[in-house]
């Protein structure tokens, strides 16, 4: 890699995460608080790698019951029928609306899995001190951050199906245990993306002197 421009951290400057004001902290080990908005200044988010790992692993564990357990239980005239996320996709596909089946498949199955895999890859690359593909990895992180909310889709679908189809005793739909795990996957991966500090992706390429912790 060619010699890059001097980074703010190398110049002893730190940017406030809330109001983006760049300031020169009095001490390198204790950056203190932002003079404008009072936010605590940090060179890098505190314990970013550890927190992200914990949340990603928790999300990966929840991902299994989220897909294996039923999200909906349809009761028609006394007979009950469980429905998983994949079952919902298959139902949409066979009932003729394959574009919607594709949307649900992407949002509920592929995006959560993709997010977990992407975050694990980013974490490993930071911990191995990789200096390659900085731009690509940053783009991947932005994608994870942007796309994360869309996997809430299935939670909303289930909620409104349950809320509407209450035609007792003819037919009713109740939520299954899978919904909770699925919602947990979405929330945990969103928190994980928030805990991850994208500046870490560049630290191996541009080391800064005052690293601590």
């Amino acid at each position: 890699m060619t010699t890059a421009a001097l980074t703010a951290a190398q110049a002893g400057l730190v940017s406030c995460e809330a109001c983006k004001l760049v300031s020169r902290p009095a001490s390198a080990t204790e950056p203190g608080f932002c003079r404008r908005c009072g936010e605590q200044l940090e060179w890098r988010r505190h314990a970013s790698i550890e927190t992200t790992w914990a949340l990603v692993i928790a999300a990966a564990i929840c991902y299994i019951p989220a897909n294996a357990l039923p999200v909906l239980n349809t009761t028609t005239l006394g007979s009950s029928e469980p429905d998983t996320i994949m079952g919902g996709v298959v139902f949409l596909y066979t009932s003729g609306s394959w574009p919607l089946a594709l949307v649900v498949l992407v949002a509920s199955v592929m995006i959560p899995l993709g997010k977990i895999v992407a975050l694990v890859y980013l974490l490993i690359s930071v911990q191995r001190g990789s200096i390659k593909n900085g731009h690509e990895r940053t783009r991947l992180y932005r994608m994870v951050e942007f796309i994360g909310r869309w996997s809430m889709l299935d939670v909303f679908v289930d909620t409104f199906t349950v809320a509407l189809v209450q035609l007792q005793p003819l037919m009713s739909v109740a939520p299954g245990a899978g919904v909770l795990f699925f919602a947990a996957v979405v929330v945990l991966t969103m928190l994980a993306a928030e805990a991850f500090d994208p500046r870490l992706l560049w630290d191996s390429a541009n080391p800064y002197p005052s690293r601590h912790g």
Partner: protein
């Protein structure tokens, strides 16, 4: 000076457009939450639901955490976002802008992440199509209101310039804000 034409204008001076949009969005938000989203009818029976009704039904069905999460992402987060934006846009018309705005700006960022109206709209549409097999479903006023909000909220985001507001803010350490050109360059 000579002909009276506008030479230069403050890039985005007093934030009137975001304020107008926020007021509109707040009104639409109230409509979206009070009127039914859709009506379902099958063999002589009808049912209708609102956004809160959906979350409450989840609560009743013993999925309390999911119900709270849905209520948070669909009602509390966007509602708080609009309420905070309204307060801080009104307060920021004072000069220098009062300090407590900075606390609100920080909260607004979080509510923005967790407000998922557009995801909810798509979710409702998928649910509608799933149910359409079994019964007749008619979208209600609430549905159109949600559609309006999905357009209004990004419009607020685009017109609201938080960096400009940060620059006008009163600093924590009691100093008045320096003129913009004295700021550390980014």
């Amino acid at each position: 000076m000579r002909c009276g034409a506008t030479l230069a204008r403050q890039p985005s001076g007093p934030s009137d457009l975001p304020l107008a949009l926020t007021v509109t969005a707040a009104i639409v938000f109230i409509i979206a939450n009070t009127s039914p989203l859709m009506d379902l009818s099958a063999v002589g029976r009808t049912a209708s639901t609102t956004i809160v009704g959906g979350a409450y039904q989840m609560w009743l069905e013993d999925e309390k955490i999911t119900g709270v999460l849905v209520a948070f992402c669909a009602v509390i987060a966007p509602g708080s976002y609009l309420a905070f934006m309204l307060t801080l846009l009104l307060a920021s018309r004072r000069s220098p802008a009062p300090f407590w705005i900075s606390e609100m700006l920080r909260w607004v960022e979080h509510f923005k992440t967790w407000s998922m109206l557009e995801v909810m709209l798509l979710g409702i549409l998928v649910a509608l199509i799933k149910i359409a097999e079994l019964a007749t479903v008619d979208p209600g006023i609430g549905m159109y209101a949600v559609g309006g909000l999905v357009l209004l909220i990004p419009a607020i985001l685009v017109t609201f310039d938080d960096r400009e507001l940060w620059q006008r803010l009163e600093w924590v350490d009691g100093e008045t804000p320096p003129p913009p050109d004295a700021e550390v360059s980014r």
